[in-house]
Subunit: 475 residues, 2 copies
């Protein structure tokens, strides 16, 4: 598709991205700004990502719950920083039927207020702790910035986890668990990320935030989620107290972390090529597609064989048979390539005669003939190989998109070349502010758990550097 | 729990139900009427029900999508009956941030309007048909009736499927598929239902509706969902046209069907007893719980053994080990019985000495000792047996709750005895109206696909009967 219209990914990334997602994952034509429709491929892709995440959360003791969409105004106002962060940017429900409601209610911009109202009822003593819960739901933000499908919508599909602990130390440890869960999620999606301790713009009400970022081909970085240490800010506001082991009383220490539909924006941007999407096999809604190679006289025989192959493979793989009769195999190839299906299976006269199938990989276009008796095993292997290849390729590309900059000229050059500048930083906020102002690009934060060793100098001011920092255009 | 407070299920069903769900599945204390919080057990139970349903929908060719929550007012107004059905009973979003929106938007009461707006863009020719999509989402209704948790909430968790076809015949066939999917779902949940062709009160905009009902212990029936034939009413309103095979043009024929959180209300009501929930093994969030039987001197040894048992079983079953130290085994038994866990495993000194475990069934309280080498196989069998027993017991009970009534005195007697009256009906609406007025209980509709054979007389008027009808109190 993109090819035909002369829109290679590299030349106009933004146009390529929008056209591709609209043809495959979503539909932007819903008549309300910032609200998009998820087509089957898009929703099932997101659902498969959620499945990985929810399993990781379950394995680490998080229980799945559901809390209401509507937040009465008085609840949203409890935590001051939080309300300051959200009051002007939420949707308000004011009427039920024809009647004005006694108190207006916000569509949740995030669920702290709903959840913490209940946690204050649920938590009584140290025996009830820790509490680890999560929910997959939608949140709503009245974005005044330019909306972008899958990147900045007003309806956001996401998963949010919330934990409460007896000590500050436990909450700090939980942050590491959150980062580990997301690292594993991104690894499975073959999306390279850097975790950044954000310096400013932390989540409203949070003490500290660590955010995974990935660099897009256009050099802009996408924040892919956040892991927040809330300390006791919310527990004090929502009165979440517990009896301590030694007979005292304290407020719980809390963390929260979330990721969103941006996962599938990143899958698109990181892996796609001029032909369309390339989906990681583990989350591809369709892992294999069979395209019958048909001439009129052998049509029935080939279709029979295709159905047999499908029956054999469907127990183990997500598979479709493209049995449309009115279009050519070539058009079908093009269609399934655009949709990113990891493996195409071709079955025609040759394959029947030689008792096998032809397999074509989406990631590198390689073809091979596989004997029928080896098909399941070979496809299993191939899906692994494709995953490994996608991961390696994405990591290599991502590494090239990050450029160490030792002085401001190098920072400027990096940004001009659509790269993310990795700088050395002294740790002074003022110095970071200066750097971002002079570059007209934000100083995002410092690399998570990686201090600078040796005697490097701050890229901004030349004083001894303590941290790695990042300067670049963001979404 | 219920036992202790002297609240057996039979004596005060309503109180029993509310207390039980609040202790286990939900929390009604969220400060907004009709909006409840789903505790982990409640949400995971619902999620497991959805999982069965979504698999059944996938197997029958329905693709999972997602359409926006907010419906601009002008879309909701397109289908007149539909809007008449919903305009006064939806929540309205009027403000984004501090600004009044140009056009107010409803929280979806159901997704026809959002989906069909897009289908008119997606469907072009007969080649695009049929389209079968579904989504699991929440819908919102500003109920003016008394709200009841899990039965009549203002925020409703549900799944809705929508299909579009080239002919009226195909749509009629699809209705049967819908009924079959739900039959299988209810079978798996061990919930007996009767499918009823509802005579009045069909879904706003539908031509015909078939609804599964189950009779609760208090004799009131609960509508558990609906399967609707929409004909061309919506496709004409939303201009969903397609080019026919022979070069003409027509509007698509549509169906829709949905089920909701009422699934878990029914699981509670149908299976629960004086001790609490009894959850069908296939959907129980926790299928097995291990309770260590500990005396001080052997604590460590028993806990070790319990962990080993858990490790062995967790690959195949959803299992928890209750390692709380501050409460007695007796209190734990009571707690897990209330939560409806199908099988309790006891491990103590005796079990270690004899190299086995003790198993206690929640459905009938039977205990047995199982040698360690047979544990997995025996538990697999037992979960099957429990399921079969629960299904049989529920069906027998349900059959007793339905009483054939040949005259109006018998109808009256049935209703007074908390039963659903099954009547013979001539087919005249006027006669049905008379019956319901005289009984002060609705004539719900006729039995799906079961006409009266032989020469029975109408319970209401004595004319020849054509249908089985149902009269009873509804939720």
């Amino acid at each position: 598709m993109v090819e035909r219209k002369g829109l290679p990914k590299k030349e106009n990334f933004s146009e390529w991205f929008h056209e591709l997602i609209n043809r495959t994952l979503i539909d932007q034509r819903y008549p309300l700004q910032g609200f998009i429709v998820y087509r089957p491929l898009g929703y099932q892709l997101f659902d498969n990502c959620l499945k990985i995440l929810e399993d990781l959360l379950a394995e680490t003791g998080h229980k799945k719950c559901y809390f209401p969409l509507l937040i009465p105004e008085r609840l949203l106002s409890k935590e001051k920083d939080h309300i300051a962060g959200f009051h002007d940017s939420v949707f308000w429900v004011t009427h039920g039927g024809l009647k004005e409601m006694e108190e207006k209610a916000a569509l949740r911009p995030t669920s702290e207020t709903a959840m913490y109202t209940m946690l204050s009822l649920w938590i009584d003593s140290w025996r009830d702790l820790p509490v680890k819960i999560h929910q997959s739901c939608n949140v709503y933000r009245y974005e005044t910035k330019h909306t972008r499908p899958l990147i900045r919508d007003r309806e956001i599909l996401w998963n949010e986890a919330h934990t409460s602990h007896a000590t500050a130390e436990e909450a700090r440890e939980q942050i590491k668990v959150g980062v580990k869960i997301y690292s594993e999620l991104f690894r499975r999606l073959c999306i390279p990320v850097i975790f950044i301790n954000v310096v400013e713009g932390v989540f409203a009400g949070a003490e500290a935030a660590i955010e995974p970022y990935t660099v897009f081909p256009d050099g802009r970085v996408l924040e892919m989620g956040s892991v927040n240490n809330l300390g006791q800010k919310f527990s004090k506001a929502f009165d979440i107290k517990f009896k301590t082991k030694d007979g005292g009383e304290d407020y719980v220490y809390q963390t929260c972390y979330g990721v969103s539909e941006r996962l599938i924006a990143a899958i698109t941007a990181v892996h796609g090529d001029d032909k369309g999407l390339i989906l990681p096999p583990e989350v591809a809604p369709i892992q294999l597609v069979i395209v019958p190679i048909i001439y009129e006289e052998i049509e029935e025989k080939v279709m029979e064989e295709c159905k047999k192959v499908k029956e054999e493979l469907k127990k183990e793989f997500r598979i479709e048979l493209d049995d449309r009769t009115e279009i050519t195999p070539g058009v079908k190839f093009y269609d399934w390539e655009m949709k990113g299906v990891p493996i195409r299976i071709e079955v025609g006269e040759k394959e029947i005669d030689e008792n096998g199938i032809t397999i074509v990989r989406r990631d590198n276009g390689e073809r091979e003939f596989v004997k029928r008796e080896n098909v399941i095993e070979r496809i299993r292997e191939l899906l692994e190989e494709i995953t490994e290849n996608m991961r390696k390729r994405a990591e290599e590309y991502h590494a090239k998109k990050i450029k160490i900059a030792r002085n401001m000229d190098e920072v400027k050059e990096a940004i001009e070349n659509k790269l993310l500048a990795k700088v050395f930083w002294c740790g002074e906020i003022e110095c970071a502010s200066k750097m971002e102002k002079s570059m007209n690009a934000p100083f995002i934060g410092t690399e998570y758990e990686k201090g600078v060793e040796g005697d490097e100098k701050c890229t901004g001011c030349g004083k001894p550097a303590k941290f790695y920092g990042f300067i670049g255009k963001t979404y």
